[in-house]
Symmetry: C2
Subunit: 166 residues, 2 copies
């Protein structure tokens, strides 16, 4: 019996091999992401907030179109998981002093979010623990296995392009 099935105390098997793969993916993701969520939470951040700060740090260090900040609407597109309520998330980061809001000058509709020095400091503090956690969680995979892993993840996403069309 596969580990997943035993872990879930599941009597019958899986309905299809694809379902088994999906559940394996979901289970693995749940376990790994829980570890990261705990780490971020210890520093007062949700995973989404952490990822947004990461994105904003990238732009602060490597300005785009002469800007070291990002429009709110563009932030969502830089994230792996969909964040539906960017405005309020930025609200919270602004309140925590980690992000500044800047009204655009060329287009007054646009609001730019820029990471503060406080936000940069928090990220710096988290850089090492995050790397360590990555090594802890997946460091036992060989380089060849990681390569395989990435290739399978990319392939698993491919048919999704057509599923995406509503």
């Amino acid at each position: 019996m596969a580990t997943l099935q035993r872990d879930l105390n599941k009597k019958s098997g899986f309905d299809s091999p694809e379902q088994q793969a999906y559940l394996n993916l979901a289970y693995t993701h749940a376990k790994l992401s829980a570890a990261f969520a705990r780490l971020f939470k210890d520093h007062g951040l949700s995973e989404a907030a952490y990822n947004i700060l990461r994105v904003l740090r990238g732009v602060r260090k490597h300005p785009e179109n002469g800007r070291d900040a990002l429009p709110c609407g563009e932030i969502g597109g830089r994230l792996i998981a969909r964040v539906p309520d960017v405005t309020r998330l930025i609200d919270r980061l602004v309140k925590a002093g980690l992000v500044d809001r800047i009204r655009g000058e060329a287009d007054r509709r646009v609001v730019l979010a820029r990471i503060t020095t406080k936000g940069l400091a928090l990220l710096r503090k988290l850089d090492e623990p995050v790397l360590e956690l990555h090594a802890q969680t997946l460091g036992h995979l060989t380089r060849s296995e990681l390569k395989q892993f990435n290739a399978l993840m990319e392939k698993a996403r491919q048919i999704q392009a057509s599923t995406r069309s509503p």
Copy 2:
């Protein structure tokens, strides 16, 4: 440049190969789970609610310890992703007529949740679309790739056993 990096409009590379793997996992999971979330939502269910109903159906069909229902506290342990507020989720399912609550007789602290015939009917209705979506999303992987996929998922979870100790 890897697809993931390009999709995220990410300028710099990844900090470590393990991080790249984790982000690939998270991105793939986000895409696939979004498709399933949409399907369940079309039938008035969240993914957690669907999974709970699946678990309860299993026990209804194959009773355990002479019981065709599960204690609330045990339901959480049968799920892939942690569900923190089982009580209220069961509340909602009871309200929707999909689950019944039964007070335990041997131990009055225990509350058993049992799927109703309405709940069974809803699941039956979803069985085929779910299988189809599985085939749609991962059906392009060969049998050998799925086998590899599962093996890597299991291996990725292994070191987690030690990470889990608080």
